[in-house]
């Protein structure tokens, strides 16, 4: 285990920041991505059902939950992308007050960003701060840029980050699912509905 800044810690936890001047990548701190059927919560491997529930709870308890859809779902470049986009809109509809702020591309914004209407992987903290976002969901962002953004958010904000990854997941998010396509988004929406019902009946 090694780190590029600071010193190794045992049992490194991926939790909301602000963490440090230049926070380490979770992978360098020994956090390992989940295998199929698994997910990560704050750096620990859990069965994916547990993570579905936790995501539902986090979103339903949030003051200002926000979805950050990236180019892989914003643009209709494949049928799968369109299906996933539809499923995401349905999911957002189930979370009271959930907003959508897109990440249309990855170039640094010049001369300035309008943090109200978009988020950028090079300075995602600006959008989080401006909109007081306490829980966010990354989806459809190319993995490299998602990791950049998630790490910068952990370094500089107290936002709780969730990644719905179409590939292998993101250690730098507080909760990550892997292999998330339209069907898995629909499963998550079902979990959200179920948790909502449970909360109502309590």
């Amino acid at each position: 285990m090694s780190t590029l800044l600071g010193f190794p810690k045992n049992g490194y936890k991926v939790v909301p920041g602000p963490e440090t001047y230049l926070s380490p990548s979770a992978a360098a701190m020994g956090v390992v991505l989940p295998n199929e059927g698994e997910a990560l919560i704050e750096g620990d491997i859990v069965p994916e059902e547990v993570a579905y529930e936790e995501i539902a709870n986090r979103l339903l308890s949030a003051r200002n939950p926000t979805l950050f859809p990236g180019p892989l779902v914003l643009w209709a470049w494949s049928e799968k992308a369109v299906a996933k986009a539809r499923a995401l809109l349905e999911m957002v509809g189930e979370v009271p007050g959930m907003k959508i702020i897109p990440m249309p591309d990855y170039r640094p914004k010049y001369p300035m960003i309008n943090p109200k209407v978009e988020i950028n992987p090079n300075h995602p903290n600006l959008t989080i701060w401006h909109n007081n976002i306490d829980v966010c969901v990354f989806v459809g962002v190319h993995c490299h840029f998602a990791n950049l953004a998630l790490k910068i958010i952990r370094a500089g904000t107290d936002c709780y980050t969730i990644a719905l990854c179409g590939q292998r997941g993101h250690e730098d998010a507080m909760i990550t699912l892997r292999d998330v396509h339209a069907e898995e988004v629909m499963d998550l929406t079902d979990t959200i509905r179920k948790v909502k019902m449970e909360r109502l009946s309590c």
Binding site: A27, P71, H123, H142, L148, K151
Partner: protein, 385 residues
Amino acid sequence: MLERKVVSPEYMFFEAPREKKYLIGNEAVAEAVKRANVDMVISYPITPQSEATHIVGDIYAQGYVKDYYRGEDEFNVMSAMAGAAMGGVRAFTATSGPGTLRAFEMFPCWAGERLPIVCAFMTRGVNSPLTIQPDNIEIGWLADTGMLIFHAEDPQDFFDMILQAYVIAEQPDVHLPVGVCADGFFVTHTREIVELTPEDEMLPPYDPSVSPVVTMDMETVPVRHMKDPFVMKSNYISYNTHASWQQEVRAAAERARKYITRYMGSPVEVVHPGAEILFMASGTAAAQARVAMERMRAEGIDIGLVKIKVIRPFPEKEITELAEVPRIIIIPEHNITGWLARDIKSRVNNNAKIYGGPRVFGGMTMPPEMLVEETKKLLLNLVTA
């Protein structure tokens, strides 16, 4: 060209029948390229690599590779490789010593741009004075580029590692270039028995849509993407992004460990791990140490070997644990700088038991007789001290 079928990496590596052929290392490289289902190869002559890309040229002419040309120099070959990989195809090239250095600016860029290129480095001495002979000093420099680095002991390793390299490099959470290194001549021009998988079976094609960065085709996904540097502004945001970017490249190398274990078994091979004395070595130095070890064991000396197959990501945990047991660790190397000893020393608590050497370089052979003699001298010194 043979009609070929796609097989899974798991089948190819662990189940496919193997046929014994008597080949030189450079031939084994071309056999690997054929089975790796490579789209594009760009070549440039330099000894001792040239034969490998000659033969790859022949398999291109037969239709096994889709595009092939000779570039104008190594820097521009590596640049064109980047262009090909950004365009979403599987690419291969090879170079040696001075060519590696001529091209060097591109290697950190491949890693930074997350391009899963596989490049074979048939290492040789670096000028001046001019030498074309074996010496692996360049691996020490490549180790800090962000690429994954494997080091082959013999033509069999070279064949296997090139295939494993593509599978590991193209994992969506890794997606990094791999340098597969072999000591020039000692591997490239050495003829020995190599066990090959069937000629009519190849790896699945590369799927650029799983890339962690945008493929530069205006389709996956369309519109507005720039590769790559942050030349926009000199301010905290640019610095922080660049720093995070570099961390992410190193994080991707960390993620490769899982796949290295899955497809290569382990980043190290251990023979007699409980021994009182351990050789730790990579490449052909491991082969020579293996022979020296057997001769000394026959004389009753308790000595073992750790062959380090993967130089990056460095097998830190394995080395730290293996270093606990022996009283003496000896690290023979085929270069003058001792980059492997440096790596090992930085991961072992008690450096006093590590002997970085003997080192042989500039094209000279490392005779097992010499390793035996030097080891015995060391033991004698320790006894008299």
